[in-house]
Each structure stands twice: as C-alpha cells, then as structure tokens.
C-alpha cells in the first residue's frame, strides 16, 4: 500500500511550519509521529498534497515542571512521556494512560500532540486531558492561544484547532490522585471505553473516551458523586452521539461505560 503522491517539507521552527501551512492551505497537513496519518494516507483516506514534518522542530519535545504544572511538548512520544519521572511522580494518571497505548513500537513513534489533534474517538489521551483540566497550547498565524481541554474536542476527528494552527504543548496541573481505566478493543488495543478520574477536593472530575463520537466530561457523574453511591450509573446521561460498532453496540457500550466509571471511582 502506497500513499498518493505528495510533496514533503520539513519545518525547522514553529513559525516556518505555520507559514508553510498558510502557503499551502487545506492541501497541506502536518505530520509528527505519522502513526495515525501515514496509515490513513496508505489507505488513501487522507491525501494531502503537501506534508509538513514538524517532528524535528527544536523545543517541542521537552517535559518541564513549572511550579504546580507539568508542560509536555507536542512532539513528545508516548514512550518518552511514559519514562519521564516527572510524569510518573506528579501526573501518574498520564503514565497509566500512555503505558496502555498501542504497543512498544507505536509508543516509540506516536506523539501527544498528534494524538490530540487527530481526536480519534477511541484514543486514550482525550479522556485524560479532560479529567485533568489540561490546556492545549497552540500557535498559528494570529499568534498563540491556550484552549481548555473542555473546549477542544468538537466531534469525531474534529477539534477547535484552526487550519493554520499547530499544537505546541499540553499544560497539565499536577494530579495527586487520578486513575485511568481502559477496556481494550482486543485486536487493535484502542479503547472500547476509557475512563479517566481525578480526585478534586471532595469531588471528582471524570473524562470518558470511546463511548461517544466526542470525548466528554461526565458532569452527571461528577454532580452525583458526593451524594450518591451509584454515581457511575449516570455515565451516559444526556449523551446524543453514543457510538455503536461490531465490537460494542450502543446498549453494551453504555453499560460498559457505567462499569468502567465505577471501576475508576473505586480506584481513587
């Protein structure tokens, strides 16, 4: 399988990547690890005419502790995040999630920025950034902006990123008590359901992936948490885009979501 023809450009700075995006418009796509985009191009589901490689831009692959926050560069691979002591110590929920992504080889190439920009409804990071109240830092023609995770995911493979914007980093508040629970799709290892839960004072913040076309914060669970022992029962309340496929139909998936939320709440 060979992708359709394209031109390959390598950006050496964020501003160069943005100006290349501006120059080539909707014909262009950036590539980082390529582990979502290249398979899609080989299947010709994606046919960019220009590929802009951002993986070598200096400064986008660092993990830094800034006071109460941890900033993970967009080009950090899953393996790099998994092996980071700062992440293991202050953001263990992220460690738990990345160590469950794909397999060794995939984790060695796939990146956090690529995963979030791709917004695959079965990917793991979205649940975690939602539960952590992380911020997605982006840069584009109009300058820099920070998008709260809760405003980032707009739908299936659809985010708040503008066409000429790239993600530069993800800013997480440190998390003392958090958990990521994943029910694996047995062949692909993507999530059928993934639930991230973070203790927040007496309350809880819950992010869910795999269940709906858009990853979401389970606010009904959060509202019921302190008062009710069966908060997990509210996992899919009010949901309009419940997914259904041959691995898990709607009824099964809705049930599994409740089971996985209960597991996550019990693990806190």
């Amino acid at each position: 399988m060979i992708p359709a023809k394209f031109d390959y450009k390598r950006a050496s700075s964020v501003s160069e990547a943005i100006s290349l995006l501006g120059e080539h418009g909707s014909e262009a796509k950036v590539v980082s690890g390529g582990h979502s985009l290249v398979p899609a191009m080989k299947l010709r589901m994606s046919r960019p005419e220009v590929l802009i490689d951002i993986k070598r831009i200096p400064g986008l692959d660092t993990i830094t502790e800034e006071g109460d926050e941890i900033v993970i560069g967009a080009n950090c691979t899953h393996s790099q995040v998994m092996r980071s002591e700062v992440v293991q110590n202050h953001l263990n929920i992220v460690y738990q999630a990345v160590s469950k992504i794909g397999d060794v080889q995939i984790r060695n190439r796939g990146t956090i920025g690529g995963s979030l920009a791709h917004a695959d409804p079965s990917s793991d990071y979205p649940a975690v950034v939602l539960a952590c109240d992380a911020t997605i830092e982006v840069e584009g023609k109009e300058g820099k902006r920070s998008i709260p995770a809760t405003e980032f995911f707009l739908g299936l493979f659809w985010t708040a990123l503008a066409e000429e914007e790239i993600i530069t980093a993800i800013r997480f508040p440190k998390v003392a008590n958090g958990t990521y629970q994943k029910f694996f799709q047995s062949a692909s290892r993507f999530a059928v359901v993934g639930v991230a839960a973070v203790q927040d004072g007496d309350g809880v913040k819950v992010g869910i992936t795999g269940v709906a076309g858009t990853p979401y914060r389970a606010t009904a669970v959060e509202d019921a948490y302190s008062g009710s022992a069966d908060a997990a029962e509210h996992a899919v309340d009010g949901l309009e885009d419940l997914m259904s496929d041959h691995f898990a139909d709607e009824t099964y998936r809705a049930h599994l979501a409740k089971v996985m939320v209960k597991k996550a709440l019990d693990a806190l």
């Binding site: 399988m1 060979i2 359709a4 080989k42 590929l51 490689d53 060794v104 995939i106 190439r109």
Partner: protein, 154 residues
C-alpha cells in the same frame, strides 16, 4: 528527495519518493529483505526495525521521516557468523516455525531487553503486543526471550 541513513553501521544515500516507506526502502532499494512486510498497516510487527535505538514499525514510517537516522535491521544483529544471543535463543528454544514473524520478534525482543534487562514473563508478553505470530502460539517465543535475557545478563 535526497536522503541518507546509517543502516547496520553502513551509510547509504539515495534519492527516494517521499511516499516510500522505510520498509520498502530497505527491501526494494537496499535488498535488505530480512525486514518482512506482513499487514503493511502497523498491526503485525513483522517489519520491526530499530530507529535510533528504538523499535519501530518500518511499514508506517516514511523513509524521508527517518532521514539521517541510525537504523538497525535483523541483518545487523549478528556479529559476523556469530548469532546475536536473541537469535541463538530463538534457534535453541524453537522460537520459530515458518519464520515469517521472527525478524520482527527478535527486533522487538531486543528493545524490550534493552529497556528492561530483567523483564518478567508478563512484561515480555506485554512487550510483544505489537507482534503477531501465526504459528508458534507465542509460548516458545517468550521462552526464547527469557533464555536470551539470562545469557545476556550473565
């Protein structure tokens, strides 16, 4: 596009189409056919090589993406006529039947043991999640890697 790579210690330079995968480049341009292509869609792991010391699926990397890298393929594992301890262990422990998955298994095993020289059976099994074998049932592959680890740590 002009690219250059060090593969198994030797430097190569070629003009390649950007859409050519590293696996195709290795097999078709360099005749390094030890890197197998099974699924060609990042599922089976038979195309696993090391790029700058880390296991990667060569079918899902464009050759241009890894321009300038150091690549090791199965052909680069042995030392002359002396098999790498992981290769020797696969031979001794019947870690292969048809052999199609074997280059990928060996390359992934090397990554697992590099990062975790004392990997437990469970860690080895998890480490092989991205490599499929249609023949062996995995049992002897895991055993081979355990034996290799013992030899390499001795």
């Amino acid at each position: 596009m002009q690219i250059s790579m060090t593969i198994n210690g030797k430097t190569y330079a070629h003009d390649v189409e950007p859409r050519i995968s590293l696996a195709q480049y290795l097999r078709e341009t360099l005749n390094l056919t030890g890197t197998h292509i099974g699924c060609d869609t990042s599922g089976c792991g038979s195309c696993t090589v090391h790029v700058d010391g880390a296991a990667a699926k060569a079918c899902t990397l464009l050759a241009v993406q890894v321009d300038g890298s150091e690549v090791t393929t199965i052909e680069g594992m042995a030392n002359g006529n002396e098999m790498h301890p992981i290769q020797a262990a696969f031979k001794e422990n019947h870690g292969l039947q048809c052999g199609f998955c074997t280059p990928g298994m060996v390359m992934t095993a090397a990554d697992i043991l590099k990062n975790n020289p004392n990997a437990s059976e469970e860690e080895i099994r998890h480490g092989l999640e991205g490599n499929f074998c249609r023949c062996t049932g995995y049992h002897n592959i895991v055993k081979s890697i355990q034996h290799a680890a013992e030899k390499m740590n001795a």
